[in-house]
Amino acid sequence: MTENIKDDQIPKLSDDLLIRKEDFGFLVFNPKTETVFQTNSVGAEIIHLCDGKVNIADISMIITEIFEVEKETAINDVKAFLFELIRLDLIEYV
């Protein structure tokens, strides 16, 4: 699934989402689907970086630095997370 996601793709949060910070990470409400998505702190950081300016490679590098994980692990985790966000209509690639 995630193999089709390219490192130079740039994710951007969908319009109209409501995002709230909680102790565990973010709660993201999608008004279109009327669903709530819950993230942990890593997911919250990725969502924070989905501003339509930073590509996946750079997001993964930032995650590597902040959470001190292996580069390969970070890029796989970021892609898997973004795949889920696409499925839930929470991001698009610009």
Partner: protein
């Protein structure tokens, strides 16, 4: 996750308990005695607080909310706030073209919820008003034709559960996209003779599962909320006071509107934010653990998420907040 969120995901607000129907199963014991209602000024302040707290969903209900003469203004104010979605629960008997035209520019954010419990005169007998079914159906058709999203809710009782498939098909024929099936809880006006037996509950679940594939064709999103039957042991979780709460017409804050006597402050006296943040608020719900439930919930693999099931159902049957949900087959 902490015991409760920084703000509710959903707040359900009864703007009034006055109603033009007399439903047999209403959670409100007496809709002819109107409790004090919040002024529109106070309602607007409350909505502003929900916006600031980033509450995602505001459900506005009654009684019949359209009975309030200022209800259109309340809808408009709420819908223009930063709350993500506004749901209005109504019986649609008071809706008309003029009202829907006035609200039509809000339909991206505003949706309606309406109940259909049976078809034709059976619905009327449940609702206590001849002609209620026709008026509700006309209201649904009108709202759908105006492009509003309408969700129908059906409450299953001992005498209508066998018609569940027929009711779903009828709802589908109205152009409604979402249909939620729930079961009666014997509180308020609802008497125990309306409650589904264990056998009826299993029968409903089977009928639903056998027909679901066919029913969801053409895009109907139909759900059966019937905990503790079939696969759904792991799905029940009560969010009262943790990610949801209710507000009664007089401003009382409750964890669950089915339990209106368990209040935790009033938004006339304190800011809603202050009430929600207070560690001493909603203590019955927030401090509930599997260990505090009588019986064997603490040993149950679902205990941590379920926490004994529905507290309203436990109170209805045992008059004891700490008894397990009597519908659970594992207790």
């Amino acid at each position: 996750m902490s015991e409760y969120l920084s703000a509710p995901i959903k707040v359900s607000y009864d703007v009034t308990h006055r109603c033009n129907l007399q439903c047999q199963h209403c959670r409100i014991l007496n809709s002819t005695i109107a409790p004090e209602e919040l002024s529109i000024v106070k309602v607007k302040q409350f909505v502003d607080e929900l916006s600031a707290m980033k509450v995602f969903v505001l459900g506005i209900s009654g009684g019949e909310p359209f009975i309030r003469s200022d209800f259109i203004d309340i809808i408009k104010y709420a819908t223009k706030s930063d709350v993500g979605r506004i749901f209005v629960s109504t019986n649609f008997t008071l809706i008309n073209d003029d009202i829907l035209n006035e609200l039509s520019n809000l339909k991206d954010k505003l949706a309606f919820k309406v109940s259909i419990d049976s078809i034709g005169v059976y619905h009327d007998s449940i609702r206590g008003m001849p002609g209620a079914f026709d008026r509700t159906v006309e209201g649904i058709k009108l709202a759908v034709s105006h492009g509003f999203r309408v969700q129908v809710t059906t409450t299953l009782m001992q005498f209508n559960y066998k018609d569940i498939i027929e009711i779903i098909e009828f709802v589908k024929s109205l152009g409604v996209k979402k249909h939620r099936i729930i079961e009666i809880i014997p509180l308020g006006k609802a008497s125990f003779d309306l409650v589904l037996s264990d056998e009826s509950r299993r029968s409903v679940w089977l009928m639903f599962e056998q027909n679901k594939k066919r029913l969801v064709q053409d895009g109907l999103d139909v759900t059966l909320d019937m905990p503790f039957v079939g696969r759904s042991f792991s799905e029940f979780t009560c969010q009262a006071g943790r990610s949801e709460c209710g507000i009664l017409p007089d401003g009382s804050v409750v964890g669950c509107r089915l339990l209106p006597n368990i209040t935790t402050g009033n938004i006339k006296d304190r800011a809603f934010r202050e009430i929600w943040d207070d560690a001493k608020s909603f203590t019955f719900f927030r401090e509930l653990t599997p260990d505090s439930i009588k019986g064997n919930c603490s040993d149950c693999e679902y205990g941590r998420s379920c926490r004994g099931g529905c507290r309203a159902y436990a109170i209805a049957v045992y008059n004891d907040f700490y008894m397990p949900d009597p519908r659970c087959l594992l207790v």
